[in-house]
Symmetry: D2
Subunit: 308 residues, 4 copies
Amino acid sequence: MSEIDYASTLESVHRDILPRLGDGAVADYIPALAAVPKDKFGMAICTTDGRVFSCGDAEETFSIQSISKVFALLQALDLVGSQALWERVGREPSGTAFNSLIQLESEHGIPRNPFINSGALVVTDAITAQCVDPASKTLGLVRRLAGNPDIHRDEEVARSEALYGHRNAAIAHMLKAQDNLKAPVSDVLDAYFRQCAIAMSCIDLARAFLPLANGGRFADGRTRAMSASRAKRVNALMLTCGLYDGVGNFAYRVGIPAKSGVGGGIVGVVPSKCAIAVWSPALDDEGNSKAGAQAFEWLAQRTDLSIF
Amino acid sequence: MSEIDYASTLESVHRDILPRLGDGAVADYIPALAAVPKDKFGMAICTTDGRVFSCGDAEETFSIQSISKVFALLQALDLVGSQALWERVGREPSGTAFNSLIQLESEHGIPRNPFINSGALVVTDAITAQCVDPASKTLGLVRRLAGNPDIHRDEEVARSEALYGHRNAAIAHMLKAQDNLKAPVSDVLDAYFRQCAIAMSCIDLARAFLPLANGGRFADGRTRAMSASRAKRVNALMLTCGLYDGVGNFAYRVGIPAKSGVGGGIVGVVPSKCAIAVWSPALDDEGNSKAGAQAFEWLAQRTDLSIF
Amino acid sequence: MSEIDYASTLESVHRDILPRLGDGAVADYIPALAAVPKDKFGMAICTTDGRVFSCGDAEETFSIQSISKVFALLQALDLVGSQALWERVGREPSGTAFNSLIQLESEHGIPRNPFINSGALVVTDAITAQCVDPASKTLGLVRRLAGNPDIHRDEEVARSEALYGHRNAAIAHMLKAQDNLKAPVSDVLDAYFRQCAIAMSCIDLARAFLPLANGGRFADGRTRAMSASRAKRVNALMLTCGLYDGVGNFAYRVGIPAKSGVGGGIVGVVPSKCAIAVWSPALDDEGNSKAGAQAFEWLAQRTDLSIF
Amino acid sequence: MSEIDYASTLESVHRDILPRLGDGAVADYIPALAAVPKDKFGMAICTTDGRVFSCGDAEETFSIQSISKVFALLQALDLVGSQALWERVGREPSGTAFNSLIQLESEHGIPRNPFINSGALVVTDAITAQCVDPASKTLGLVRRLAGNPDIHRDEEVARSEALYGHRNAAIAHMLKAQDNLKAPVSDVLDAYFRQCAIAMSCIDLARAFLPLANGGRFADGRTRAMSASRAKRVNALMLTCGLYDGVGNFAYRVGIPAKSGVGGGIVGVVPSKCAIAVWSPALDDEGNSKAGAQAFEWLAQRTDLSIF
């Protein structure tokens, strides 16, 4: 097997994507997100042997939004263990994105997976029930994984989310009514909105996801962030549930386990090879970064990184 | 047409219902309701010519719960008018009871009718947006309609509802997210829980509903509570939407427009003849008073009061 | 109570409706229906004391389509009795029109009421299981009720329905899979398509529905078409389930139990007073005759015929 | 990387699974399937370098049922091409299994993916529209892929399916009504039931799926069964959509793209390594072979075959 030339492939992807930037719509449900320029684009790759490649706005921080659901899941698994968590949330794709509330009604309060909002609220509740300051707990994990103590949350975004987050409040109250939320609704929502508001760069994100590509180990190959088995399983969850209603299409076109956020970020994991983060704020109809998904597709094709 | 003998019919219905009391389950989602003895039964009839007949516990007050949705509708129609209100809520039966949240998602925030919880929350919002103390405004209307200034709300029930009302909170936040709630969510919920907690007797309720049977006029035949046309229309809404998922069956068995509440009350309207209120706290599977529905059926059969 | 002047009210309604004819779309899912001129309009009233009033195209025959569901229900109740039939079909409004297949899945093969397609197929199956030629059996009942032996079915329409009726075939196969269809699927569909294709005039229809307004008796006041109780109950079913997703609105605006068909007919029943049939082929969004519903509304307002 | 010892791992899995055989229920919706003994178990592995390992009843043929959906997809892609097919069927997981009809209604006749029944019917229609004998066409492909001209279909199973297949008939008529079926309904159903009735052994199946693991090439490494890109994409579809409502859990526990059938077979593909087929007829609640899924999980764990 020939060596992958990450540097020049990244360069070619960057060059090809530039004319496409700006196509799609930036998330506008909160003012703080709507203000981000549409033509931003950054991409970073961290390899399991410790190299880092990047291009464009890869060092600029952005709101990770739903990508935080992966960090929250890892944190909750650490705190309450696998068995206790999977009794409260499923591991199946959700069908259509808008389904969360309908699905909660028909499945009696068990969200289908931890990467839809209802599931992430249950995950956040599991953390909230175990520690005084759940948002800081998860932020601490993020800093450790990325090896960057400067990662912070954007408090303006957190406040904005709380102000406009009526749909998430609806889901949280529904979960409470169905007895699948232990902490007070407002505490869970507060922690949830704050973890969504973490700001990171593509380089931070690729670094933080590297252990998932590296059998649970950091780039040094020795220190363990999680067990090898947990890394595999979280990757499987991302592949089947990581991109809402675009998950099947992304697997088909790209073939890399990934998680997206409405801030325009997508992070992918190629087992044994690398973690990849991309950021471009204009979204497609499913709420995934349009240029980001395209960049992933080209990268996967040109480097044969598909896991299939 | 021979005169209806309300007194002796009421007596016969009372006698026949006694052995059946206690069958069914009392609403237990809040402690204050769960404590009501199962074998309570009262019934009252107010005729359009001003007579009042009653039996059993007809003078004892109970929590009117969803029956308050009719009062709230009348109040909102007074305050904002027919046209403005029907732009925000529909007039169609809802299919299954549990549907409210699902239906909100698929119909973009327009509740199907004002007698399901989502619709009643929109109605309450219309009142809340027009006055400082919406709950007292509606209570004032209730007192005027019943001609009883002593009608009050049970504050313990109101507090209980607020404490356990996560499903209603979920619906209210969903309506807010869908831009069909103008006042703050907590204000609307507060007014809603307080109007549900109004306590009335069967005699109060039959009196308060009499104008709906009397072309909009009070029992004196002169003073108008509402237009004749509004009375007809609210009766039509009760017949098609007044008993959740038991509405078709009640129309089939009884044939009288009616509204029920989980406190065990049912109030019915027979145009040109009378208003009828019954109370018995044990409920059937659809959440309607079991003995109450049976009493209505017997009364309708024995007096030929069906509107069909 | 002053005498209702049916003749001049009908004349005024006819005059006012003429400028509105043609608004809406004629049902076009089969060629035979699509060919009917949009500006047709007829109306007929049969009173319980035997008078007949009519205007416009009231003597012209048209395809009764779903109005036949009332005749089929009466026929099935005659053949298998009330109890056996209501074990296989419910009596509740259906929520949204398009729900039939969804509802069948979630409620395990029990259609919500006999006036949606799934319910009517079960009703037709009950007839099919009892006689060799179910379509002719129901046609015989129609002729007896209308007192017109010349009523026939339009075989071209029946063939067209069969050719294009894939949605009904889907429902029938689903009912068979759920064990709520006894006769072979093709026999039931055949009988169903043929009863939908019965052609009648407004005068025929008003006559055929008169017993429902007359306590179960024909216009002679003596001969019985059905029991008084059955007449009441079928009227109740029409009011709550007779106009698909427009049922609540029709009750609100008109206040008369009625059944519509996509051929543009609507038949209503005013207990103790009259039966009313209207026909105008252009439909509103819910599939009910647009001019027909308007004519009903004006007639009800001008004569105070609302049952509420 | 050390060599995988397929032979001894297969032996250990076989030994461990024996005490568990018989747990679960055999599919009983058609008599021909219900008669299969519950304690059957076979497993076969074909490696990309041409070796074959097997144990238990790996040479015994069984009804492949939904596994045929993969063969039909490959056949349809050959006949009409990628673009034409993906206009008629989606590539997203379906959420709950029972959803198919509901989903068809709400998504206007575009099945979510080719591995649910509605999607497979559209795929079969694409084949049916291109050739006289679609079932034999697909059988021909199966024989070529497996290199076994003796593979046949079980005509008794095919007849049984047709006799009891009312749910599939319902779906097919619905697709026809929604204009997403070109051939006559009965032709499509006939071809569908016949392809489901193909009988194969584990060894046949593992051989037939090998090209999906081998970059599109047969075990000889030269002859091409399909393009490398198509192989990858079909693998991605299997991982996200191949096991109905158990797909997320299988990815989590096993981590291998796979397709199951109610006959008790599961076939998996490990890119660059091998194809694996297992058969054991007792099913879990999601309709997947219970012992088969367990055997896959053990095999993946003991050989580190997960793609994650």
